[in-house]
């Protein structure tokens, strides 16, 4: 049975590294894996999404409406934006961080109140954490992406050792300590 995970966020938040760590972990677990990223224009502060699919044999690399088992959201509004991609009965792991889109910055739109509550009210299982605070605690605000991978790792059936291996394979040596700490803070949250 194939599973689908979506990593959604804002360009610049480091979603690509997270998807690489996740892809590596699934590969180490012995699954067939496909990871789909979009580069280019979407990096510039826009809404970004990465699809990760795994199982015995994966065909399509993309996740469509109503197909995701897990959505890992790096930002509240992005969790809501991609919610329709969640499978009925799927779950969300979300960072409580809010990043104003330009339409909000310039006053053309408002950042909605109660995003997380609205998602809960739709009957969706959602787990939230403040990854930025934990990343600062780990020693670098940029490690919020690894905090979030740690938080999601806990909800999967992949052993912790595999996650740590995957982390080591994808993070440069000099940033490893910070990222290991960030992973633990997410995993134990």
């Amino acid at each position: 049975m194939n599973k689908s995970i979506m990593i959604v966020g804002v360009g610049g938040q480091g979603t690509l590294l997270s998807s690489r760590i996740l892809g590596t972990a699934l590969l180490l677990k012995g699954y067939d894996v496909k990871v789909s990223e979009v580069h280019g224009m979407s990096q510039r502060g826009g809404s970004v999404v990465t699809y990760v699919k795994y199982g015995d044999k994966v065909h399509s690399p993309v996740v469509g409406i109503g197909e995701a088992d897990i959505i890992l959201a790096f930002e509240q509004l992005e969790a809501a934006r991609w919610l329709n991609h969640l499978k009925i009965g799927g779950k969300i792991v979300a960072n409580t961080q809010k990043i104003d889109p330009m339409s909000v910055v310039i006053g053309d739109a408002e950042y909605p109140e109660g995003v997380i509550e609205s998602i809960k009210n739709a009957g969706v299982e959602i787990y939230t954490l403040d990854a930025l605070v934990k990343a600062v605690e780990a020693g670098n605000p940029k490690s919020a992406n690894v905090v979030l991978i740690g938080a999601m790792a806990k909800t999967t059936d992949i052993e912790k050792d595999i996650w740590l291996d995957a982390l080591k394979q994808n993070v440069p040596e000099k940033f490893l300590d910070v990222n290991l700490k960030a992973f633990e803070l997410g995993y134990n949250s």
Partner: protein, 578 residues
Amino acid sequence: MKKLLLGNEAVARGLYEAGCRVASSYPGTPSTEITEFIATYDEIKSEWAPNEKVACEVAFGAAVAGARSFCAMKHVGLNVAADPLFTSSYTGVNAGMVIIVADDPGMHSSQNEQDSRHYAKGSKIMMLEPSDSQECLEFSKMAFTLSERFDTPVLLRLTTRVSHSRSLAEVSERVDNGLKPYVKNPQKYVMVPANAKLKHVEVEKRILEQTEFCEKEAVELGLNTVEYNSKKIGVITSGITYTYAKEALGDNASYLKLGCVYPLPEKLIKDFCNECETVYVLEELDDYIETHCKKIGVNVIGKEAFTLLGEYSQGLIKKVVLKEDAKSVTADVNIPPRPPVLCAGCPHRGLFYALKRLNVTVSGDIGCYTLGVAKPLGMMDTVLCMGGSVSGLHGRNLADPENANRSVAVIGDSTFIHSGITGLIDIAYNNTNSVTIILDNSITGMTGHQQNPTTGKNIKGDPATAVSLEKLCEAVGIKNVFVVDPYDLKETEDTIKNALSLNEAAVVISRRPCALLKTVKHKPALKVDKDKCKSCKACMKIGCPAISMKDGKAQIDFTQCLGCGVCEQLCKFDAICE
């Protein structure tokens, strides 16, 4: 050994394993990483060319000299390279030559949604299309073999989802057969009419031979595949759409997957259609395979049930073929859109702010700075194609010379070298009072930081000859060339204002390296003194993503701010400080 490879990485690996020796490309999403990965192999001479036409000609020259070679580009890049493409079909090659073109259905990062398969048919050049990373690797190798066997360049077509998806691929060792001897042969390589007429006859013969190859041998090689399951539904498809169809329909359908999309087989398609009850052609963008099917007289369902627009998906195929709708949840939230924006600290921001103050018409171009079209700056009137800003401004000023002092062109350093320089020569030669602004951020930005002829470094980051933009502009006959730092708002505005008042052609070089470059040192993030902030929102006029209003006062996000100081210059109350 199997590795999780990005489609583009797998293409690079395939080219490497096949003994490729020369690579020349111009960056363009989603093709860029192919050549970036190639640059990591020391056995291959790789380079960023000034544009796709040059890249294609370099690859051609190398192939004639006897080296397996390739060039890679995005779909619109193939328009630029179309001239060498069409005639290289006549000359053929010596060693193998592969031309890689990456289409962008859905326009994730492009200005149009063209279907490059038409180029294969138009230029009569064989085109292969992989559907995952394993095929990216295999087809790249096969492309060289077929190029040499049929004496033709071979096109490899990718789409965004193939280029930018990671899947498992089996890697092996490189086999390099060395330089193939070059034998002088003007009848083959000099395309004067007398020779070209003879070569055209050979091209038509070659297409017949290749069609024959596609009917049988391509099936044996696994290039074209036939998979019979339930014969109630038959699917003719290629590329990424095959993976969508397999996921949507599984064993409830049979598949004819065309790894070679030009030329297309006839008998193979007819036989498949005879076996299946209802046959769908599943292809993104144009009705390319469908038209062929209808021409050879088989009954298929195509675009009347699907769409010419955007990407396909397993969901779309389930909906149309199986009449199954996806079930999903929605939350009761009004979600504002989040389009891409100029980054915090982007040097283009100050430039666009100055243009806004001057209220000029802006002839725009392709690059990060195209984002200057977005609110609150909103400073772009036209964007057509690479280089089009400069020649477009010349045209505007020919039509309406009275307003030449209220119009400018904006173009990036790499785009200017790509094809802006020819427009500037036109301005100088045919004499309009056009003001061209070159946004020199010392890198090719939008595609993810590639070196270019102005940066002083080559693809490997080693020192290289740098084009001086000032001297280049002067050399083509522009007498007024100015350089400004776009972080200095007043200087930038005054300089452009002066250039517009000269009643002569002028170039303003707005020079400041991309804030995301690792070599750029940043100042500490700025802060807002809440007591001094009068909530006038002057700092919001530049559309910096690091600035927002909280509880009625401006605030600066320390994780984004790079301390560029542009907002500081807008605050009349000294509320923004280090």
